[in-house]
């Protein structure tokens, strides 16, 4: 900077080459698409949340927080929010527990099949979650694979209630979000280096200690990212709770849909959407905070850099 400032008087000022017209032109389609598909509906939802609902789906155009007050003072809606968070936490924990060993294996393996294995872990994404949920219904239902097998083996006399309830939703969601979790973890496991495990072992750490003291802390950033992905996806998840929940699992996404289509109460649906957005905001804020704390362990407190 100083050198430039000194040299400046002698040199003819050069036109700054910031993002030019070309860059803007390239960005334009994306920005327009985002405005149309994201910003506009969002503004529309925000606007709708300030309206009030009349009888039979009538919408009273106004600007008030009456609908917010109505929703936030209802035990039922708090219950729905609670169930949404509960489902999110359950699904996130289960998905992380099942995905972690797989991701760890895929991140560490030196097999020449690694690429293929990673691709295989992600292939379920090629099949729509609707189809996969139906698959789980065929496995978990009263007439499903699990109950039929156990019944024929004489292990159970009455079918286990694995579907049409929270259990089914958690099982199916876990499988559905696993590819996301695995991908997020693998990409977040960048600091994992087999040599670090060797170093720990050479310093006298048995395998379990190597995992606890080295592998786990180094993979935490990836786990955190995966947790965010899965938690956010499951908070907004509609298909799986609806299809396999047996009508018993009330979460924000299904209730927003029902309010909009069955009850025709758009202002309430909009308020619930805004609350879900707020929930995302909280989750992302927590994530960013946690990420900062984790990163500080690697880079030291900000400003201490030499």
């Amino acid at each position: 900077m100083t050198a430039e400032a000194v040299a400046a008087p002698a040199v003819r000022p050069v036109r700054p080459r910031g993002p030019g017209r070309h860059a803007l032109a390239l960005l334009a389609p994306g920005i327009v698409a985002l405005l149309l598909t994201y910003a506009m509906p969002l503004v529309w939802v925000l606007r709708m949340s300030l309206n009030e609902s009349g009888e039979g789906g009538l919408i009273r155009q106004t600007v008030s927080f009456a609908t917010f007050a109505e929703v936030l003072s209802s035990a039922h809606w708090w219950n729905v929010i609670g169930q949404t968070v509960e489902l999110g936490v359950l699904v996130t924990v289960c998905t992380l527990v099942v995905s972690y060993p797989l991701a760890l294996f895929l991140a560490r393996t030196t097999s020449r099949w690694r690429g293929l294995l990673v691709a295989l872990a992600v292939t379920p994404l090629l099949i729509s979650s609707v189809a996969r949920t139906f698959g789980w219904m065929a496995i978990l239902g009263n007439q499903g694979l699990v109950n039929k097998t156990l019944g024929e083996l004489g292990i159970i006399s009455e079918p286990l209630q694995l579907a049409n309830n929270l259990t089914g939703v958690v099982i199916a969601s876990t499988e559905i979000y696993m590819p996301f979790a695995i991908l997020a973890m693998i990409s977040g496991f960048g600091r994992l280096d087999p040599e670090l495990e060797h170093a720990a072992a050479s310093l006298g750490a048995p395998r379990r200690t190597v995992f606890r003291r080295v592998v786990l802390p180094l993979t935490l950033p990836g786990v955190l990212t995966a947790a965010l992905m899965v938690f956010v996806l499951s908070l907004s998840g509609y298909v799986t709770p609806r299809l396999i929940g047996g009508g018993r699992v009330f979460v924000l996404a299904t209730e927003i849909y029902d309010q909009a289509t069955t009850a025709l109460d758009w202002p309430v649906a909009a308020v619930l959407s805004v609350l879900l957005l707020a929930l995302f905001g909280v989750v992302i804020a927590v994530y960013l905070r946690a990420q900062k704390v984790l990163e500080a362990r690697f880079t030291g407190p900000q400003g201490a850099r030499s």
Binding site: R191, D193, S202, G204, P206, F298, G300
Partner: protein, 362 residues
């Protein structure tokens, strides 16, 4: 320090599953207590595998590893009590400098106060006492190298293993660290094995050098042995530069063997004798050949300068012997003697110790 064998490898071999050939094909090595052994070789020669076999990171296919007469072959890595400094340093990025160094002590259930004391000492040893609270990402390459050394040494291991310890440093830092490692090794008196592909590093740092090629040890000896008395063409070529001239043995001349070389006539060469009439290879180090402007009447070896490349402290010549003899590399210091341009006729001479017989293993 003494001459008692401390680390002994016998018949050590490793074949990786699915690999074409063995990475290590039967190695016998002895390192005496308090000495430094350099394992020198080109990349892929099996030297890193050897180090990993000693550390226990890789299980051998055959052979034994002993320290102080105790068989460690089947002892898992975390109970081998060896300090390892990895090529990448392998410092724990989530721990600060002091916690990195403390790691091995914590594994040994050393009390808190003692951990603190010994970490402090180890950091002082590598002159990093002032950086104890730093994160690894905030350190330079040389500092990381020192932390890795301190971390390996703080547990007072029986043997210190260094994998290409200087390869990630720039040239200036490298020579500083060479001195540092030498000093630390002298201060701690720890038996040390290090692996390198850099002959200068091996010759200057080690008490003895083992030259490896294709999974075997070609020659073990002091740096002088290796450089001046290479036993094999590979060693001669890999350690320093060498002219290799093929000829035929013409019998003995006292201690030496007379070898008939094209363009040079009969040249006496030291080294293991070769039967009369058998082919023999003679090595001549370029800097041990002297050049003089050829006087028409003088005898001895004569040649024509093909090229002369000025390189500051030396001039590198290529000289063709006779009219169509072999081409030799000759290296002469600048300044003290006259230089020769391309096309110049020169007389070549050397002291009688310079030509060495080197034989391929038969």
């Amino acid at each position: 320090m003494g001459d008692t064998p401390h680390l002994v490898l016998s018949g050590l071999a490793k074949t990786y599953p699915g690999a074409d050939g063995a990475a290590v094909r039967g190695i016998d090595l002895t390192v005496e207590r308090g000495r430094i052994l350099a394992v020198l070789g080109p990349s892929g020669c099996g030297k890193s595998t050897t180090l990993r076999l000693i550390a226990g990171l890789v299980a051998p296919t055959a052979g034994r590893i002993e320290v102080d007469g105790r068989d460690l072959t089947d002892v898992p890595v975390h109970r081998r009590d060896m300090g390892v400094v990895f090529q990448s340093y392998a410092l724990f990025p989530h721990l600060d400098v002091a916690r990195n160094v403390a790691f091995g002590l914590e594994m040994r259930a050393v009390g808190k106060a003692e951990v603190k004391r010994r970490v402090g000492e180890a950091l002082e040893l590598v002159r990093l006492g002032h950086l104890a609270g730093r994160r690894i990402a905030q350190l330079s390459g040389g500092q990381q190298q020192r932390v890795a050394l301190a971390r390996a040494l703080v547990v007072e291991p029986s043997v210190l293993l260094l994998d290409e310890p200087l390869s990630n440093l720039d040239a200036r830092l490298r020579s500083t660290m060479q001195d540092e490692i030498g000093r630390i090794q002298r201060e701690t008196g720890i038996t040390t094995v290090f692996v390198t592909h850099d002959q200068q590093e091996a010759l200057s740092m080690a008490d003895s050098v083992a030259v490896m090629n294709e999974g075997r040890i070609e020659q073990t000896g002091t740096p002088q042995d290796i450089y001046e008395r290479p036993a094999r063409p590979f060693v001669a070529r890999f350690v320093g530069r060498a002219n290799m001239v093929e000829g035929t043995s013409r019998g003995r001349d006292g201690e030496r063997t007379l070898v008939e070389l094209p363009g040079l006539g009969k040249v006496p060469a030291a080294g293991d004798p070769v039967e009369t009439g058998r082919p023999a290879t003679v090595m001549l180090r370029p800097h041990r050949i002297a050049l003089a402007a050829a006087a028409p009447e003088s005898g001895g070896a004569r040649g024509t300068v093909l090229s002369a490349a000025y390189a500051g402290e030396t001039v590198a010549y290529r000289v063709r012997l006779g009219d169509d003899g072999p081409v030799l590399d000759v290296e002469r210091p600048t300044g003290s003697e006259a230089s020769h341009g391309p096309g110049a006729e020169v007389a070549l001479s050397w002291d009688p110790e310079a030509p060495r017989l080197v034989a391929d293993p038969s």
